[in-house]
């Protein structure tokens, strides 16, 4: 009896994960195939399987140098942002938490912009020493600082107040925006052009070095999140309750903040501020398989990767040959979703 009752949610979860993964594979293949030049999917697979030695024709170059790194980066960023959003929501015990909404992404952007503008003057030594890691590290530092700030401000006696959290997010977003504005004011023309990219969000700068930094990091943090799943479940019951269930909760909370800041850091460093993926993907996952992190976390990762990759495909084909900034597209679709969520009362403190 218990066997049947237990197996059915697990079967639903396996089915949902299977379907989502299939859709993800199709979207990824389509993303490599479609663009300014359309390449047949079979030809895409041929080129990928042939490897780097497959030749020097135009299609091979496009696939290997342009589209593949971009798709890989969007898969990693989407999965990373989705898991980061889910971890944040668990930490705050509130389904409205999202790295962009509560100001973590803005903090990361501030870190990145500071390095771009001041990298040649004040921070010259640091950016020389860190090389390719300069941007991700600066963005990580900005993200970590803002998440600690919001978490400290929004918590009273161990309880996070949703209103305070969102208000803190507004304040931190405004503050980061103002600082970015100040830096824009002193930036040179060349710097200015790359600054726009950070505030709007785009995967256009994807290359293999971005993939080499973000894919392993995000993959490792996603695996870590899956290992944390039972503890994250307990955390949703409450911090005290989780402690009584044997969870080392102070360490878990620090881990969540650090991991989220790391993901927001690399995501923003290579693709700017892309909001709402961390809100929409976890919510869809919970809707499909329930809030148990052992089932919802992997599904959210796949959905996040699929949504962002699909979004990027739309963003760069809708107004071909120009490109719509991806951050604008996700905000256009995500903000109404957020408003619906707010209205539906599916969050604590909401009038039901």
């Amino acid at each position: 009896m218990s066997g049947g009752a237990m197996a059915s949610p697990r079967r639903t979860a396996a089915l949902a994960l299977g379907v989502a993964t299939g859709a993800l594979a199709a979207i990824a293949l389509a993303s490599v195939a479609i663009g300014a030049v359309v390449i047949a999917p079979s030809r895409v697979l041929e080129i990928i399987l042939a490897g780097l030695d497959g030749g020097q024709d135009a299609h091979t170059l496009i696939v290997w140098n342009v589209r593949l790194p971009r798709v890989l980066l969007s898969l990693a960023t989407g999965a990373g942002l989705a898991c980061a959003g889910m971890r944040m929501q668990t930490l705050f015990r509130n389904p409205l938490a999202d790295p962009a909404l509560i100001g973590v992404s803005a903090g990361a952007a501030l870190g990145a912009v500071a390095v771009i503008v001041l990298g040649t003057t004040w921070l010259h030594g640091a950016s020389q020493a860190l090389g390719v890691w300069t941007l991700p590290i600066a963005a990580f530092a900005g993200a970590l600082g803002t998440s600690l700030l919001v978490f400290t401000l929004a918590r009273r006696e161990g309880v996070v107040d949703a209103t305070t959290m969102l208000l803190c997010g507004i304040a931190v977003n405004a503050l980061s925006g103002a600082c970015i504005g100040l830096l824009t004011y002193v930036a040179t023309d060349a710097q200015l052009r790359s600054l726009t990219f950070w505030s709007l969000g785009s995967l256009g700068a994807a290359d293999w070095s971005a993939v080499a930094v973000s894919v392993p990091l995000i993959a490792a943090l996603t695996v870590l999140s899956l290992r944390w799943a039972p503890a994250l479940n307990a955390l949703l019951l409450g911090e005290t309750e989780a402690m009584h269930l044997g969870i080392r909760i102070e360490w878990l909370k620090r881990g969540i903040v650090a991991a989220t800041a790391a993901v927001a850091g690399v995501a923003v460093a290579f693709s700017g501020v892309i909001g709402f993926i961390g809100l929409v993907a976890p919510h869809l996952a919970r809707l499909l398989v329930g809030p148990d992190h052992r089932r919802a976390m992997p599904l959210a990762a796949v959905l996040g990767a699929a949504l962002l990759t699909l979004g990027d495909l739309v963003a760069r084909t809708l107004v071909r040959p120009a490109e719509l900034p991806l951050g604008i597209l996700t905000a256009l679709l995500g903000a109404p979703f957020f408003l619906w969520l707010l209205r539906s009362g599916r969050w604590p403190g909401a009038a039901r």
Binding site: S2, A5, R93, P95, L237, T240, L245, G246, P291, D292
Partner: protein
């Protein structure tokens, strides 16, 4: 190797708690024993919840605190969670876990055991609390009383299978329950103490406490006001002093337990 059994489940010597410059608890010394149901009573603000927070390590406390003969600080958190279950006064949950999933979280400290073994304990507890029909319902859709029974079930699931070596702490487990449910919950807690569990329950209703407890800890102003059997602690003078209202105690009314009636304020 920790031996279950003869050492007290909990022992405090000179327990004190200060928060934000205020002394909430001072110089409490007592021991709680296996197979004993202890009711923790006292007026609001007497320090009952503070005592529970200090006992479980949620709040830092002075003094010598021992669990099953070992200093509390020596216990790894998860090992301790396998033996000490706490039912909080109230829990909010804003994610749609089902009743079964919430109860199953009580088995988290035992996740090294076989999944089927843990699932069997969960089903047994659901059945015992007559929650099987609600098992697939989202926790968030339950009434206050149902939620409290689910949290109680979670605490029972946490110590299931090792009742003889466990400490069960209940902070007002009956607050949102009707008469029959109060009796059911305290009856189940009492059955655990018969199996060897050391049970400590904060109970607001003095008459209810008297009917189920073997022993009473009465608190007042952050101190232990009285400690002993029901008959010896339920004295009109003792209760009147603790609760700050004149009470009468009738010793022969029901179940052999005393009954307390507060006088009308002049």
């Amino acid at each position: 190797m920790i031996t279950a059994g003869r050492s007290p489940a909990f022992e405090a010597r000179g327990l004190g708690v200060q928060r934000a410059g205020r002394t909430l608890l001072s110089d409490l010394s007592f021991a709680l024993h296996p197979a004993q149901f202890t009711a923790l009573i006292g007026p609001n603000g007497a320090g009952k919840s503070s005592l529970i927070r200090a006992m479980t390590g949620e709040w830092p406390a002075q003094g010598d605190l021992r669990l099953f003969g070992q200093a509390r600080t020596h216990w790894p958190r998860r090992t301790l969670a396998q033996r000490v279950a706490v039912m909080p006064q109230q829990s909010t949950l804003s994610f749609d876990f089902t009743v079964r999933e919430v109860v199953a979280m009580g088995r988290l400290p035992h996740r090294h055991l076989r999944a089927a073994h843990n699932a069997a304990h969960v089903e047994a507890v659901l059945d015992e609390l007559k929650l099987t029909a609600l098992a697939a319902r989202p926790f968030t859709t339950l009434s206050g009383g149902e939620r409290q029974r689910v949290q109680f079930a979670r605490a029972l699931a946490q110590i299931a299978g090792r009742e003889e070596a466990a400490l069960l702490i209940l902070d007002e487990p009956t607050a949102a329950l009707d008469l029959a449910q109060q009796a059911a919950v305290l009856g189940l807690a009492r059955r655990r103490s018969a199996l060897g569990t050391c049970v400590l329950a904060v109970v607001h209703d003095l008459n209810l406490a008297a009917r189920y407890a073997d022993r009473v800890l009465m608190m007042q102003g952050g101190r232990l006001h009285a400690d002993g059997g029901v008959a010896s602690t339920y004295q009109a003078a003792t209760l009147s002093a603790a609760f700050g209202i004149k009470v009468d105690v009738e010793h022969t009314v029901c179940d052999g337990a005393p009954m307390v009636i507060a006088r009308r304020m002049p």
